[in-house]
C-alpha cells in the first residue's frame, strides 16, 4: 500500500530502483536524465520515463531545479516513489508535476528493478 501521495497522478512504467539516496544536483545530468555519479548504484543508467524508486533525496537544495529541468527536457521519471519524502524531491516534483508517492516499508522492499508496475 502506498502510505502517502505527495503529488497526485496515475502512472504505469518500469521500476528503476536504487538503494542509495540521490543528490540530484551532483549526480543526475539534467539534460539526459543519466546518473553521472560514479559511486552511485545507478551510475550510467537513465531515469527518464521510469518509476524511480529510491530511499530519499539528499544534499543540495538546488536539486529541486534539477528535477524541474529533467521534466522540461523530457528526461524526467514518469513518477518517483520514496521511503521518506524530503523537501528537495517534494518541491521539485510539485513544481514539475511529477507524481510522488511515499511507500510502506513492505511495498518498498517488494519493488524490484525492472518490474512493470502501476501507481496512483
Amino acid at each position: 500500500m502506498t502510505l502517502k501521495t505527495i503529488v497526485r497522478g496515475k502512472v504505469s512504467g518500469k521500476v528503476v530502483k536504487s538503494n542509495q539516496p540521490i543528490n540530484f544536483l551532483g549526480s543526475v545530468d539534467k539534460k539526459t536524465g543519466e546518473v553521472t555519479d560514479q559511486k552511485h548504484d545507478l551510475f550510467g543508467k537513465k531515469i527518464a520515463g521510469s518509476i524511480l524508486v529510491f530511499p530519499n533525496g539528499v544534499g543540495s537544495s538546488v536539486g529541486a531545479y534539477t528535477i524541474y529541468s529533467l521534466k522540461s527536457n523530457n528526461s524526467a521519471p514518469a513518477a518517483m516513489a520514496c521511503q521518506k519524502a524530503d523537501l528537495t524531491v517534494a518541491s521539485g516534483c510539485a513544481l514539475a508535476n511529477i507524481p510522488l508517492f511515499i511507500l510502506s516499508p513492505d511495498e518498498y522492499d517488494s519493488m524490484k528493478d525492472g518490474d512493470e508496475i502501476s501507481l496512483g
Binding site: Y65, Y68, L87, V89, A94
Partner: protein, 384 residues
C-alpha cells in the same frame, strides 16, 4: 496540512498564479513532512541562482515567475556563476553571461537583497534566537539552526522561494522538534577544519534530522563552517549540537578509520593544479587569518579565493585584501568554488582545497580530481 481560508484561496488561484505556485509547493512540502499548519517566517535565503546549476529551464521559470511575484519578506540569494568585475578573465561564452544576467534581473524584479552569498549569516545581523527563517543553502540552514539558534528546515530551492513569496513555511521537522536522535563521539585527536569537514560528511550520512557531537568543546568559525557545509552535502541532517550528554538513543564513533574512509572517498589526487578557498565563501575573520598566515609568503600556483562582495569591500578597507593579493591570491565575489563554471577541465585536471563540499561538487559536477588538505598544509606546501 490545515490551511486558513485565505491560504486555501491562494492555493486555488484566487490571488494569482504566483501565489498559487508558491502554495502548491508548500502544500507538497507540508504533506511530505506531516506539517499541521504554516507558520510565518522572517527571512528567506534562496538557492538556485547560478545558471550553471539551474540551466535554461530554471532561467525561464524565474523569468516567468518574476512577472507575477514579489518577495514578502527579506530575501537573500546564493552565489551566481561569476564575479561581474572579473568575468572577462574567464572566457565564459556570451550565452552563459546573458542567461546569468537574466536570472539576476528576475530576482531583482521580485525584490531580492542582492547578497549572492552562501554565508548570509556573516553579512547580515542575525535575528533573535528562535526566529523562524527559511534557508535553502544547506550550510546556511545548518549554521542558522546550530550556531545562530534560529529555526529552519533544510529548505529546498523551491520551498525557500515559496516561503519568500508567501512569508510562510510548513511547521514540521526541525521547526517543531530539533532534539538530536543520534550522538556521534569524536575520537580523532588534534582535529583541524578538514577533520571537521570529514566528520560532517560522515554525520550527514548516518544522522537523520539532528545530531549531537560529543568530545568537542568549542569550534572556531572555520571548523564550524566546514562542518555545516559537509553535513549539508551528504545527507538530510539539518542541525548539530556539541553535547556530551545529549541522551540520544543511537550512538556511533567517528574514529581514524571512519575518517580515512570518507577521505578516501573524496580525495582523488596527490596534488592540485590550482587552489580554491571559500566553500562556503570566506568571511572577514577567515580573510584576516589567511592574510596573517601568508605574511612574507606567496603562492606558487594560482589561488582563487571566494568571498561575499561586502566582505571583500571590508577586507579591502582593512588591508587584508591587498595582503592576500600580494601573496598571489585572486579575490572573487558573487560566486563560489561550488558549481562554478570558472574552474573546469579546460583550466585544470585537479584542484587543491580544504573544503569537503567543494571537493564533492568539483568532482561530481565539474569532473575534476581533488586534493584535500587543511589550510595550514596548503599554506605550508603551496607557498614560498
Amino acid at each position: 496540512m490545515e490551511l486558513t481560508k485565505d491560504e486555501e484561496k491562494s492555493l486555488n488561484g484566487e490571488h494569482g498564479e504566483a501565489l498559487q505556485t508558491a502554495y502548491r509547493i508548500l502544500s507538497a512540502t507540508g504533506e511530505a513532512t506531516d506539517a499541521e499548519k504554516l507558520v510565518p517566517i522572517h527571512w528567506a535565503h534562496v538557492s538556485g541562482v547560478n545558471y550553471n546549476t539551474i540551466g535554461d529551464a530554471g532561467e525561464e521559470f524565474l523569468a516567468g515567475l518574476s512577472k507575477k511575484a514579489k518577495f514578502k519578506v527579506r530575501t537573500t540569494v546564493n552565489p551566481m556563476g561569476y564575479d561581474k568585475d572579473s568575468v572577462e578573465k574567464f572566457g565564459l561564452d556570451e550565452n552563459f553571461i546573458q542567461k546569468q544576467e537574466s536570472i539576476r534581473a528576475s530576482y531583482k524584479k521580485m525584490g531580492v537583497t542582492p547578497s549572492f552569498s552562501c554565508i548570509p549569516y556573516e553579512i547580515y545581523d542575525m535575528p533573535q534566537e528562535g526566529t523562524h527563517v527559511a534557508f535553502a543553502e544547506t550550510n546556511a540552514a545548518i549554521y542558522a539552526n546550530s550556531i545562530g539558534k534560529l529555526k529552519t528546515n533544510k529548505e529546498s530551492a523551491f520551498s525557500a522561494l515559496a516561503s519568500a513569496i508567501t512569508g510562510k513555511s510548513p511547521y514540521s521537522d526541525l521547526r517543531k522538534d530539533d532534539s538530536p536522535t543520534m550522538s556521534i563521539a569524536m575520537k580523532v585527536s588534534d582535529p583541524n577544519e578538514l577533520t571537521f569537514g570529514l566528520l560532517g560528511y560522515f554525520a550527514g550520512k548516518v544522522a537523520d534530522k539532528s545530531v549531537a557531537i560529543s568530545g568537542v568543546k568549542n569550534l572556531d568559525k572555520r571548523c564550524n563552517k566546514s562542518l555545516c557545509a559537509s553535513m549539508g552535502t551528504s545527507g538530510t541532517c539539518g542541525k548539530f549540537v556539541l553535547d556530551d550528554n545529549s541522551g540520544a538513543s543511537e550512538k556511533v564513533d567517528f574514529d581514524e578509520k571512519e575518517m580515512q574512509k570518507v577521505y578516501d572517498e573524496l580525495n582523488t589526487a596527490e596534488s592540485g593544479d590550482l587552489i580554491t578557498l571559500g566553500s562556503p565563501q570566506l568571511g572577514l575573520e577567515e580573510m584576516n587569518d589567511l592574510a596573517s598566515m601568508l605574511k612574507g609568503r606567496a603562492f606558487k600556483k594560482r589561488c582563487l579565493i571566494f568571498c561575499p562582495r561586502p566582505i571583500q569591500e571590508q577586507a579591502r578597507h582593512l588591508g587584508y585584501a591587498g595582503q592576500l593579493e600580494s601573496a598571489g591570491c585572486e579575490l572573487m565575489s558573487d560566486c563560489c568554488t561550488c558549481l562554478t563554471p570558472l574552474v573546469t577541465k579546460k583550466d585544470a585536471d585537479s584542484v587543491t582545497t580544504n573544503s569537503i563540499k567543494g571537493a564533492y561538487y568539483l568532482k561530481n559536477s565539474n569532473g575534476l580530481d581533488v586534493n584535500l588538505k587543511p589550510l595550514s598544509e596548503i599554506v605550508r606546501d603551496e607557498t614560498s
